[in-house]
Symmetry: C2
Subunit: 512 residues, 2 copies
């Protein structure tokens, strides 16, 4: 089969090169956008008006963008207007030539369709899909379909291993001198519970290597990277991380800035919009980043509670089995530590408020004893797993390190090494939620509390969130504040407060 000949002799060759124009467009959602004049000759001759997505190439880079058509003056015919993200990813300057082309049909979408129709996927299929996702060739519709298909018919162990491997392969991989590199992961779902910065400080103070990279929030009001950013810069590249770890033995950096699992960052964006987090993807997401970061010994914190992410022992078993079998396939030593999940750990929910809890624990101030306790449990488990403490002595070793002030000193040095310590911001707009009657506090809806913090603006608005003023089983008086909502704008405060009092109480109070 050979191509024939163009029968229409009038078919003139068409220039498909446009001039780049920065148009200062950005979005919290899909942000790779290009704008063309509807009457641009290239647009018309290439039949681009009917295409939702097109490929752009400049200086050896290629991206796929959503295409908008405009009748405004800018961009002019012959120009291609680029959103801020598209501008940065193409690396162009105003007037630079940008080639425009029909986006190639992606072969990997056939694999996504196969998965939608219930078929299992091979190593090669995941590799093709993840490569295209990392290159940002998938639209929101395709990404959402992939994520949903792998949730509706859950990934099996082989698929999870394939997905994990594919995610590691498309990113950078860190190497460290030494055979023991410790790491920690929290499954999340429990508001607050920001143990990581404390654990890193303890481990590094104890002489272990803990190059910690953390994610930003997926579906929660804050990820460790969001919270840590309030206290020190976290956007460290690989060489910056290496310097911090060489000097201090540990760091608390944002994983996204080191490109450890670029596909995961894209997938996480979709999971955040859908507010889902299925087991297989969760395991691949966690372990791909740990493997890429060079970890050899990993403690995993799984809070279990009726409104936590993991609701009961069965769900915890399923997750633990999946994590363990996939970790084993990659030679990563893991220890799963379940913990209480009935109420938040610490008082703050949201980046700045959680940062204040961390400072209190490290400085030995009162108010977040539950957070100090859990951090020492996990640090102790990790010391034991790495053979840095005898069995059953890990907790005491960690606690001593914290109480001696050595962890606090180490934390300050890590912050300085990451670019300088800073003070958490305080929200300008606050509103208390008060107890409607007296009684004993018998339940807290963690999911709803997290949603209130998110509606208040967390994690994007750093000072936003919820500050708890009560603990489970405590007696409360009518009119006493149970928590306060913090926001950076009155609109968000109203939005969060309206939700907080709708649709069932957050705090269950048993009248006496």
């Amino acid at each position: 089969m050979k191509p024939g000949i163009i029968e229409d002799a009038e078919a003139e060759p068409v220039a498909t090169t446009l001039r780049a124009r920065r148009i200062g467009l950005s979005a919290a959602g899909s942000d790779l956008i290009a704008v063309m004049r509807h009457d641009c000759p290239v647009c018309r001759s290439e039949g681009l008006a009917s295409r939702a997505q097109v490929a752009l190439r400049a200086g050896g880079r290629e991206i796929v963008v959503s295409l908008l058509h405009s009748s405004a003056e800018t961009p002019a015919p012959g120009e291609i207007g680029l959103s801020e993200s598209a501008w940065q990813r193409l690396g162009v300057s105003d007037g630079d030539p940008v080639e425009i082309a029909h986006a190639q049909p992606l072969a990997s979408l056939a694999e996504v369709r196969r998965r939608i129709y219930g078929n299992r996927l091979s190593d090669g299929a995941f590799s093709a899909i993840i490569t295209d996702i990392a290159e940002r060739r998938y639209s929101d519709v395709h990404l959402s379909a992939f994520v949903t298909a792998c949730s509706a018919v859950p990934l099996d162990t082989d698929e999870t291993i394939s997905l994990t491997r594919a995610m590691v392969d498309v990113g950078e991989r860190l190497q460290w001198p030494g055979t023991v590199i410790v790491d920690k992961h929290g499954v999340g779902g429990l508001p607050g519970n920001r143990t990581t910065p404390i654990i890193v400080s303890i481990m590094a103070a104890e002489g272990l290597i803990m190059p910690k990279t953390s994610s930003r929030a997926i579906t929660s009001p804050a990820g460790t990277a969001d919270t840590m950013e309030v206290l020190a810069p976290v956007d460290l590249d690989v060489s910056a991380i290496r310097k911090v770890v060489e000097r201090e033995g540990g760091c608390i950096a944002w994983g996204g800035a080191v490109n450890l699992s670029p596909a995961d960052d894209v997938i996480i964006g979709v999971e955040r919009v859908l507010d889902i987090d299925a087991v297989g993807q969760m395991v691949a997401s966690v372990l791909s980043k740990k493997i890429a970061a060079g970890a050899t010994h990993l403690v995993i914190d799984i809070p279990v509670g009726p409104t936590a992410k993991v609701r009961g022992a069965d769900a915890a078993d399923t997750l633990e089995r999946a994590l363990s079998s996939v970790a084993q396939a990659f030679g990563l030593r893991t220890r799963v530590m379940r913990g209480p999940g009935a109420e938040p750990i610490g008082r703050g929910i949201g980046p700045a408020l959680e940062a204040q809890d961390i400072l209190a624990v490290l400085q030995g101030q009162p108010g977040a004893e539950d957070l100090a306790h859990r951090a020492c449990e996990l640090a102790g488990g990790l010391l034991e797993l790495a053979d840095a403490a005898p069995a059953r002595e890990g907790y005491a070793r960690a606690r001593a390190c914290l109480e001696s002030g050595r962890a606090w000193a180490k934390f300050q040095r890590i912050c300085e090494a990451q670019g300088g310590m800073r003070a958490p911001p305080v929200a300008r707009f606050q509103q208390d939620m008060i107890a409607p009657y007296s009684g004993r506090l018998v339940s807290i809806d963690n999911r709803k509390l997290a949603t209130v913090a998110k509606l208040a603006g967390a994690p994007m608005a750093k000072a936003a969130g919820v500050a708890l003023q009560c603990r489970l089983n405590q007696m409360v008086d009518a009119g006493a504040p149970l928590c306060s909502i913090h926001a950076e704008s009155p609109g968000e405060l109203d939005y969060a407060a309206a939700y907080a009092v709708s649709d069932g109480p957050i705090f269950g109070i048993e009248a006496l």
Copy 2:
């Protein structure tokens, strides 16, 4: 639980009303877009910068739009720039007040999440989801997740009935005088096969009522509405349809213009991007439109072939069972008629090329005898189902109507009633695909042929598509044209031709 008080006395009330500004933005993809200045006080005080989607209200209407932020001069602070679609749906004029608000968390998304996690949904859940979809409150990510979840774990019969009912309930419903209203649906998947305009002409000429509303293409190079639009206007509202049907007994209109199943139109957009079409959604989509259109007797054409949409007898059985049981639940009499699906029916693939086949059949000209035959089979089956012909005499009755020229006369009158008949356009750019060696044509890859037609620009580019110059089992000579690709731009012609010769042949030739 009561809301507390705003503790920060400085919190000033903020105007959330902006002035509408038409900015002439459009897109082939998600097209409800609003643009705000990044430094607009409303944007900052309301915390909208971090929101991918916001709600806009004007004159009692509310839409949810994707929000972009701009540093360009237009829109100015205090203005909200609206894409063409957003402009039309809000029905505003320049300078009109538009209220902006945080998009409310959609309660129905909890049901979508439940479905993603494998739970069956109730009548009420589908109703809530479909209402939100029809109101265009779902983002692409949410739509894709809903569609995918209902494909990965297929809808069961109860769910399909619930979905069908929900889709009927959110749209308009047509009523007709008389107890027999006939209709026809083709499952599609076979390129060409454009029998509907012929069947409507025969049925109306035989004195039956056939108010046919058709869809545009979902995943194919043309839907009946796309093809018919080449010959006459199809964007008829309800009163226009009623006038045409009262005068001529039949019409061939686009269903989307009468808002029969507004949710389906949104869902179809996503299915087109994903290139999927699962049984449950297909059944709900088809039957909801037929029920809403007031049909009582329905013939369904299912072509079966190795590269058609329905690949074999098992798949056809599954689809027939689903269609029959759901139709029965709504009191709709149906007859499923399977047909050959190994090669396209008719020579043309794409709106204008298919229209030429229809004209050939109606005018009794040679070249599309297979199309005439299939149209008469289906029209005959429908005459029998509606008791307008004795059993086994339907085909002969339909054939006689066609050969007498009465169907052609009726078709012309219908076109006139719909707004005037017109001639199909001819593509300016054409390229032949030739046989690489001599032999017998033993197979045609219908799916690949359809993809070539789509890459050439069909259905958006009306003249684009593929014109077949061979039939299965025919002898072909080396160098003879097998088909020609038609396009309206050289870029699309190249795009389609490059795909046509890549990745395995479309035409299987057995050398002798």
